[in-house]
């Protein structure tokens, strides 16, 4: 049997504030190279689960393993995020005072790459997402679709094992969203493991597997 890249075992997240159980006893596995969509209504617990998988939050119950290692074994969660994960956010979160190329270099500060190597890597990534012609532009000068492409390039900066995306097309119109879909397809085609939280049915349909959440529980796990 293939070793899972991500393994959630009866994971729960309970918030004392408001007495809410956001995620309850969720278990699943993702193997390397899978393209997984996590869907569900607002408040179903998908973003909370994504935060837990990304080490941005800690479960109050159960365990999450990454490549066979408990997340707690990575020490500082920042080490785990820097070396293993790429994050794509709904609202891009690009730094307004930096150019596209400089934004892509931000995660690389936690690596041993030299300034020249960082510049070179950023140029390659912008080329990959079709943004090399806009490398010197600041986010304000970019369209929303271009911003999301730059954010995806940034997420790939440290060659992550897993790309996590939270509503990556939530702020995009349909044609722009379509170009982002194709970009994810292309990354998946290159062997990247993707886990996308989305409301977008069209995006979810492109995934190999769809996990559906409701009221903090995993309602279904369907593979195509």
């Amino acid at each position: 049997m293939t070793e899972p890249l991500v393994e959630a075992d009866t994971v729960s997240r309970y918030f004392v504030d408001g007495d809410v159980t956001a995620v309850s006893d969720v278990s699943f596995r993702i193997v390397a190279g899978e393209y997984v969509a996590l869907v569900g209504k607002s408040g179903s617990g998908k973003s909370t689960l994504l935060n837990l998988l990304g080490g941005l939050d800690s479960p109050t119950g159960g365990t999450i393993r990454f490549a066979g290692r408990d997340l707690a074994d990575f020490g500082d969660p920042a080490n785990f995020r820097s070396s293993q994960l790429g994050f794509v956010f709904q609202s891009f979160h690009l730094v307004s005072v930096l150019t596209a190329a400089q934004n892509v270099q931000l995660p690389m500060f936690e690596t041993d790459l030299s300034a020249r190597q960082r510049r070179q890597r950023a140029a390659e990534l912008l080329e990959l997402v079709g943004m090399s012609h806009r490398a010197d532009q600041r986010p304000q000068k970019l369209s929303v679709g271009e911003r999301q492409r730059v954010a995806i390039a940034r997420a790939l900066a440290n060659r992550p094992a897993l790309l996590l995306a939270d509503e990556p097309t939530g702020n995009l119109d349909s044609s722009t969203a379509d170009s982002i879909f194709r970009l994810f397809d292309s990354l998946h085609g290159d062997g990247m493991t993707l886990l996308l939280v989305t409301h977008d049915k069209l995006l979810a349909e492109r995934a190999d597997r769809v996990l559906t959440m409701s009221d903090g529980r995993l309602l279904s796990d369907q593979s195509r």
């Binding site: 994050f87 400089q102 500060f109």
Partner: protein
């Protein structure tokens, strides 16, 4: 991109806030550097004053805190001259007169006997010295001459209705000297109704070695209970005026530091608050806490160093400007010592650290998941 490029971009990207903070730091540093610079110049000038006149030991009335209030009979000069190791004794009367309108510090008039060592050392640029100890003549320092608008051949009134002829103008790199005037001892005693009285005796030793001079000062003080004797260097170091000025400068500097720190703290706290999502995003991308701290402290330090450069330049200009002013120029030397500038730079770095550390710490402990939700 270098890490410092990001720091620069954050500062340049918010020009109004950066400039305002930089201005606050520059004002604090300028205040500290100019105050300490003026006091240091004051101290150096006072030290040079005695050393430059060839006086080794200064003798004044015992028990007096300030030399200006010392009163001694001139006749004690013979007793001092008889002490072993004394080469020469020069009696001097020092008076501070009000000769300039709106002048708060007054004009120092020094009465010395004609042909005494301190007079012979003056660097005359016009005219000559007085020949008699009772002549109504004065030799005026260049800065004071400019303030009084007098030249050789003019008459100036030391007190109202008491004219003295200006017989010479001298130059001196020392602001005290250049801002004062010399009069014959006898004439000044008569003018101030202090016949037979002096303020101090300047003693020249047979040996100028510091240890020998301290021994000489001890012997002079032992010669008469009314006398207190100090090596000239020590007088400058122990001067009440210097100590007061130094304390005042440091007190004012501390206030400037506090104001600067609070300003920097406020700016950096605002910067962290405004950029909560950005910092949370950086943490989500894998930035470690220490890198977030380096970013915030780097920004505050860079602002402070830039503020220090502007502040030090401002202080140099301010001190030069003050030294050119007719009234203040008699007190303020025109240069700021390099070590005072260094103190200003170190102060700015301290401000950067004080003002940046707490905001940096609060940014570093921000939970990314909370920060990303921040509106």
């Amino acid at each position: 991109m270098w890490f410092i490029t990001f720091i620069f971009a954050n500062l340049i990207g918010r020009p109004a806030r950066s400039l305002l903070t930089l201005s606050g730091i520059a004002i604090a540093v300028a205040a500290v550097v100019s105050l300490l610079g003026v006091v240091r110049g004051f101290e150096t000038s006072l030290l040079d004053l005695y050393q430059g006149r060839g006086i080794d030991v200064m003798v004044q009335q015992s028990g007096r805190l300030q030399m200006a209030s010392s009163v001694l009979p001139e006749s004690l000069g013979d007793k001092i001259a008889a002490v072993e190791g004394v080469a020469a004794v020069y009696p001097s009367l020092i008076e501070v007169l009000s000769m300039l309108p709106d002048d708060m510090m007054g004009v120092v008039v020094q009465g010395w006997p004609a042909k005494s060592e301190p007079l012979l050392r003056l660097d005359l640029i016009a005219g000559g010295l007085f020949e008699s100890s009772t002549a109504r003549e004065v030799v005026v320092g260049k800065r004071l001459a400019a303030a009084l608008a007098v030249e050789v051949g003019d008459v100036t009134e030391l007190v109202q209705g008491e004219p003295f002829n200006v017989v010479g103008i001298f130059d001196s790199p020392n602001v005290f000297d250049s801002g004062s005037m010399f009069a014959p001892l006898g004439a000044l005693q008569e003018l101030m109704l202090r016949e037979g009285e002096v303020t101090m005796f300047g003693v020249v030793g047979e040996s100028h070695e510091p240890g020998a001079l301290r021994d000489l000062a001890t012997r002079i003080a032992a010669a008469d209970s009314k006398l207190s004797a100090d090596v000239a260097d020590d007088v400058a170091q122990r001067s009440t005026e210097i100590r007061l000025a130094r304390s005042f400068a440091w007190l004012t500097s501390m206030i400037a530091i506090m104001i600067g720190s609070v300003g920097m703290l406020n700016t950096m706290m605002m910067a962290v608050f405004e950029r909560t999502r950005e910092i949370a995003m950086l943490r989500a991308l894998g930035w470690r806490r220490r890198r977030v701290i380096a970013l915030i402290v780097g920004e505050s330090t860079l602002l402070c160093v830039a503020g220090a450069v502007v502040g030090i330049a401002g202080a140099i200009l301010m001190v030069r400007f003050l030294s050119e002013m007719p009234a203040a120029g008699r007190l303020v030397a025109g240069d700021v010592a390099p070590d005072v500038m260094l103190q200003g730079l170190l102060l700015a770095l301290l401000l950067g650290l004080l003002g940046g550390l707490y905001p940096a710490w609060s940014a570093a402990r921000l939970a990314p998941v909370e920060g990303l939700r921040h509106d």
